[in-house]
Symmetry: C2
Subunit: 241 residues, 2 copies
DNA sequence: GGACGGTACAGTACAAAGTACGAATACACT
DNA sequence: AGTGTATTCGTACTTTGTACTGTACCGTCC
């Protein structure tokens, strides 16, 4: 594999921090986070392991950076548009991106310091909600709710036993058979009569929940922030400013 | 549960699969997932590294098992009770458990085959919703929504830069100062005027969103499953502005 | 032109982690 | 005592991250 050929052609495009990080994303996309090692990364870049250390100080830094790189792929909500349209677009984009880079969700948990793309992101979403007339309090509520839902949905999606080409049925059926007569009756019933039916796609659930949340937020925004249903809590938080 | 010790100083309580797995949880709780190595686990159990392999076949199996162990800590909804009460209780319990074992969320992503506690869990939640009169379709919608929210919220909570004793202000303030004059104006405004105010606790947001979801689900259950709000049904949405 | 220094890579080597393999120990029951 | 099974440990190999050092290729200054 050492190139015995001519000297002029085929030279590799020269390393760079950019190429190192994008290479890391590519390796993780292809084989999962556990396949991303300094050696595998170096190999995919066509260099020797220690060469990547010229551009990053250690693997931790690579992980911090590629998480932010993933975030930078998510579409920002536009400042001027209808908030529902923009928030919906951003939610779908986030889900799509996290599905394209499933390893990113696991990383979010361990990387504690947000990168610039992450911060820019938060800023844009807050701006959209505030521009729509949400109070600070309602903005905080809405943002926590929307992000929780989006990330949580993505988390569930990547946690499903099948990835890519397999359909639910292929993988779930053998599992289900083992319990078919007794242990988890309701789960099995739902699985056989609903989840495993031909047209079902878990991903479609995203839209339903998102609509429910957006509708409920609209109602909250036009009435007050108060919600019924909770017998004993108070949220404190005065009128700031 | 402890051995009646006798006068022997050594007196190791004898290893067991149970002790290995509980020890693994304890090590991860204390120092995070990356501190859980076969060697550290063995040390905490008072044995040599290779001894744990008598009870588990490899580290992967340990990870699979402790994730299910964590799930087993979450309270199951009771079959007979009011569904809102039961679902709320289970949601709070889940959040509490995941906060007690923050490393578990990251694991959920990589472990694809659910353990018995996880399955029992799903079964109980489905049973509760079905018993409340939810159709299969609405049950699927509701479950995806509730779980996404719960896990997503927990994911955000553990991703916050401060863990345990630190308050938001302690950690966010220095970060915020670096941007105080321009880069992320809306984020900074929200941070200084809301998030960093004395009484604020991100964890309180959980209750608000949960109430919103439960209210909206109640409405969906009594009317129909159809939701308005989505103009174009598909995410392709060539519209923009 | 030759010394010099900075840039971009590579080679060597070591520590920490998972774990295969088999030996050592303990205890039971002939 | 002898044989067998259950449990634990010692040794060693492999993969990983990375510290330290070396080297090839530039351009600059005298």
């Amino acid at each position: 594999m050492s190139e015995p050929s001519d000297d002029s052609r085929d030279e590799r495009p020269r390393l760079s921090r950019e190429r190192v990080l994008r290479g890391a994303v590519a390796v993780a996309d292809a084989g999962g986070l556990e396949s991303l090692t300094i050696r595998s990364l170096a190999q995919s870049l066509g260099v020797k392991p220690m060469s990547v250390y010229y551009y990053v100080s250690n693997k931790e830094e690579i992980l911090d950076c590629i998480i932010d790189l993933v975030f930078s792929e998510i579409e920002l909500p536009a400042a001027g548009g209808d908030w529902r349209t923009e928030i919906r677009r951003r939610a779908h984009s986030a889900r799509r991106v996290l599905r394209a880079h499933p390893w990113a969700i696991g990383l979010m948990e361990s990387r504690t310091s947000p990168g610039p793309a992450t911060l820019r992101h938060h800023d844009a979403v807050i701006a959209t909600l505030r521009a729509a007339g949400f109070s600070r309090e309602l903005t905080a509520h809405a943002y926590a709710l929307l992000d929780s839902y989006t990330y949580g949905f993505a988390l569930q999606e990547v946690g499903l036993p099948f990835n890519g080409s397999d359909t639910v049925a292929d993988v779930a059926e053998p599992i289900m058979e083992r319990f078919s007569t007794g242990e988890y009756p309701h789960l099995v019933e739902m699985a056989t009569d609903y989840y495993l039916q031909p047209g079902y796609d878990f991903g479609d659930e995203f839209e339903w929940g998102l609509n429910l949340i957006l509708d409920a937020l609209t109602a909250s925004a036009t009435s007050g922030t108060r919600h019924r249903s909770d017998p004993d809590r108070e949220s404190s938080a005065g009128r700031g400013q």
